[in-house]
């Protein structure tokens, strides 16, 4: 399948991971590495920007589940932002909106952290 990449951007103490391409079982390790890095350097306030993500599979969703507990234990959160309708539907189908805060835009998600 097609490629997947991430761009990491720091905004104060908040880390924004911008996803691009196709997130599935094969590309999930790329995102896992990013989360590992952030947690290793004790950065627990994370916003994930989905604006450029074309597709996410269930294995891709699994990545968020794998880290959410650890992040929340450390008074942080993973907030999701800028999802396309298609990606949102996949999250919605599995009931993810119950577990994660999902925002229309990255800025909104960042703002929520400082409240």
């Amino acid at each position: 399948m097609a490629d997947f990449s991430t761009i990491l951007k720091e905004q104060g103490d908040i880390s924004v991971i911008k996803l691009k391409g196709y997130l599935d079982a094969h590309t999930a390790p790329v995102l896992e590495n990013k989360f590992d890095e952030l947690i290793k350097s004790s950065k627990y306030k994370i916003v994930v920007d989905f604006a450029d993500l074309a597709y996410i599979s269930s294995a891709g969703l699994g990545v968020f589940m794998a880290y959410i507990e650890k992040v929340r234990e450390n008074q942080g959160d993973i907030k999701l932002a800028s999802m396309s309708d298609k990606v949102y539907n996949i999250f919605d189908l599995l009931g993810f909106p119950l577990l994660y805060e999902i925002y229309k835009s990255e800025e909104e998600a960042i703002k929520k952290f400082s409240e």
């Binding site: 079982a25 969703l61 589940m65």
Partner: protein, 681 residues
């Protein structure tokens, strides 16, 4: 073997016999100027020389003595002879007189000394002759034995004619001698074997050939006819005396020519050495290809060959792995120095777009001061496979020495071989890994197949059709039917997040859980809630499971279902489509009460010919070549058009629509489709 030995023994016997015969001749006829006896002496001494030659030659051949050692031997022999002549002139100045006198105790003793003396000289001549012959025949591009054979013939002729006609006319012998010397000169030209010696060996040869030329010249000087040495030899055989001088002349000329040849070769000796080293390294390159099985060994060889090919002090190579460079193997350099040089080379712009080997001087750069050893010149070559940059080979020289252009060329050629070998090694590893994964997937596929129901239940109230198309990597889809309870039909359809063997294991576990829960509980919501609780103990958060559990009461046509994060349920009634997506989290995401708080159960009273369709995301997310999804709208449209058809026909239409859409592109996820049709009023 025996024949060889007897052959050798024959020559040894001949040698001894000839010596004894000469001894006897001199004892009895010494001093008599008989031509017959002189000729006889010449013939016997020639036989003696010949057998000695054969003996020496076979010894040299057997022990494979190098040319350089042979020249040492000649030099030492000549040295010994000079000492022998020196002592003979001191000790027995009247030896030849005594030899020629009547038989007496004195003449007998002198004869013993004389014969030993003769043997020494015979040996010397034979040895020098054999060595010169070996040299002549070595590495001749055009094999031409005629000139050497002519030389032997003319040499012997010159010796024998001297014995025969010296008192009449010496000129015949002299004529033959002149021809012999001309042939000697001709045969001494075109020495090619020294080209293959190393620089050090050439220096040695230069010294030895000088020594031999001087010693042989001195020996010729002492051999003039008036000396005791000459007279002693003449007593035994005039012909041999002449021949021994001829051999000495040959030695002087040959080694004289050799001396100058070596002298002219010396300036290029080093370059020649390097070329020879390169050639031998090139030969080793091919062995690289055979070492692809063991990556570590290959890395070791590449580093070692780099050092040899470039004549460097240290060498190492780095490979890129996910854009970070990693040093694989190194020789003669500390880790700290290596890191410093790597940082300097790889991060400075110099090596960014390197397509060929390049010499980088670090003489003036700041990192030189940070290195623990005095590296001065660095040679860096990119390792490329096709156009992709794989890494770099780096060689370094210490103490002010720099790299040369020809070393750059050699390293360039070498890096091509190294890249191929490394790439082959990687491909091999990959294919082994791939095979392992395929085996694993075979197991997973087999498991999945066994976990799914072999046949659909046969019920008069419900027509059932199930389609399952596995993805290559096993997508984790599962479904099951339960008909144990009277008047009740239940089923589950689900999808495990993840792929391969781990997904297959979770499937097995989930199947077991549902199978037991369906026996003790009856509400779909309760069953899903309980299943989630059980999974909390074992399931990794990454491997959540979406599931839809449904139950049809066969007596009152009541359908109840709950959805845990699974795809919606579809009802087709009177060609109208209803999609149901009640609230519900996937199993394994949340183990608190919020799971059950957010789980809805839906109840539908079925009418005759109602069609219920359940599926997994493999259906709606089936992709075509341009990565577009089959999608829900196409799916529902297909259902609508074909809803009046029999369930099996309907399933067939849906699957064929999907396969037309995907048009042979890879199927990434399992496709599962369950279709139920209510037959009762």
């Amino acid at each position: 073997m025996y024949l060889n030995r007897s052959h050798k023994n024959f020559h040894l016997t001949t040698t001894v016999l000839s010596l004894i015969t000469l001894f006897l001749i001199v004892t009895f006829w010494g001093g008599k100027n008989s031509k017959l006896i002189s000729v006889l002496q010449d013939i016997i001494s020639l036989i003696l020389l010949f057998s000695l030659t054969v003996l020496i030659k076979s010894y040299i051949k057997k022990n494979k003595i190098s040319f350089l050692s042979l020249t040492y031997a000649v030099a030492s022999l000549f040295g010994v002879l000079l000492i022998a002549i020196f002592f003979s002139s001191l000790g027995f100045d009247d030896l030849s007189e005594k030899l020629k006198s009547e038989i007496s105790l004195f003449s007998f003793a002198s004869n013993v000394i004389g014969i030993v003396y003769l043997l020494i000289f015979c040996f010397e001549s034979a040895f020098a002759f054999v060595v010169l012959k070996e040299f002549y025949f070595s590495k001749r591009t055009r094999f031409n034995p005629v000139y050497f054979q002519l030389l032997i013939i003319f040499g012997i002729l010159s010796a024998v004619t001297y014995t025969l006609f010296s008192d009449i006319n010496e000129s015949i012998s002299t004529a033959f001698l002149v021809v012999s010397i001309v042939l000697i000169i001709k045969n001494s030209l075109g020495i090619s074997w020294i080209a293959f010696l190393t620089k050090k060996e050439k220096y040695k040869l230069l010294f030895v050939s000088l020594l031999i030329t001087v010693l042989a010249s001195l020996l010729i000087g002492y051999s003039s006819s008036q000396t005791i040495h000459a007279q002693t030899l003449t007593t035994y055989s005039t012909g041999f005396y002449k021949l021994s001088v001829l051999v000495l002349i040959y030695a002087v000329i040959y080694f004289g020519v050799l001396l100058f040849t070596v002298l002219f070769h010396l300036p290029t000796a080093e370059a020649f050495d390097r070329k020879a080293e390169e050639v031998s390294s090139l030969h080793l390159f091919s062995s690289l290809i055979n070492q692809v099985l063991d990556f570590d060994e290959l890395a070791e060889t590449i580093t070692e060959l780099t050092r040899k090919v470039s004549g460097a002090d240290s060498s190492w190579f780095v490979l890129y792995n996910d854009s970070s460079a990693k040093t694989i193997s190194s020789k003669n350099i500390s880790d700290k120095d290596l890191e410093e040089i790597n940082n300097y080379l790889l991060n400075s712009g110099e090596c960014k777009n390197l397509s060929k080997a390049k010499i980088c001087s670090i003489e003036k750069s700041i990192i030189k001061t940070r290195l623990s050893e005095q590296f001065s010149s660095i040679l860096i070559t990119p390792l490329r496979f096709q156009t992709e940059l794989k890494g770099f080979i780096i060689a370094a020289r210490k103490s002010g020495l720099i790299f040369f252009e020809d070393e750059v060329k050699a390293i360039n050629a070498f890096s091509d071989y190294a890249s191929i070998a490394l790439e082959n090694s990687r491909l091999l590893k990959e294919s082994i890994e791939k095979e392992r994964l395929e085996k694993e997937l075979d197991v997973a596929r087999e498991m999945q197949k066994k976990l799914l129901p072999a046949v659909n239940p046969d019920l008069k109230e419900i027509q059932i059709c199930s389609v399952f198309i596995p993805a290559f990597e096993v997508g984790g889809d599962f479904y099951d039917f339960y008909t144990d309870k009277a008047n009740e039909f239940s089923f589950v359809i689900g999808d495990v997040a993840g792929k391969g063997i781990s997904a297959a294991f979770v499937m097995a576990e989930v199947k077991g859980i549902f199978e037991s829960l369906t026996k003790i509980l009856s509400s779909p919501k309760e069953i899903l809630f309980k299943a989630n609780q059980i999974l909390a103990r074992t399931l990794h958060r990454k491997n959540f499971v979406s599931a839809l559990y449904g139950k049809i009461d066969l007596t009152n046509a009541e359908f109840k279902f709950a959805r845990a994060g699974h795809c919606p349920a579809i009802l087709v009634r009177d060609e109208e489509i209803f999609s149901y997506q009640p609230k519900g989290l996937a199993l394994g995401l949340d183990f608190t009460d919020s799971f059950s708080e957010n789980l809805e159960e839906v109840k539908i009273n079925l009418k005759k010919d109602d069609t219920l369709i359940f599926y997994t995301d493999g259906v709606t997310e089936a992709k075509n070549k341009s990565n577009e999804d089959f999608g829900e709208s196409r799916f529902l449209e297909t259902i609508k058009i074909n809803s009046h058809k029999d369930v099996n026909q309907l399933a067939k239409e849906i699957i064929s629509e999907i396969s037309v859409f995907t048009n042979d592109s890879t199927q990434y996820d399992d496709i599962t489709l369950l279709i139920l049709r209510w037959n009762k009023n």
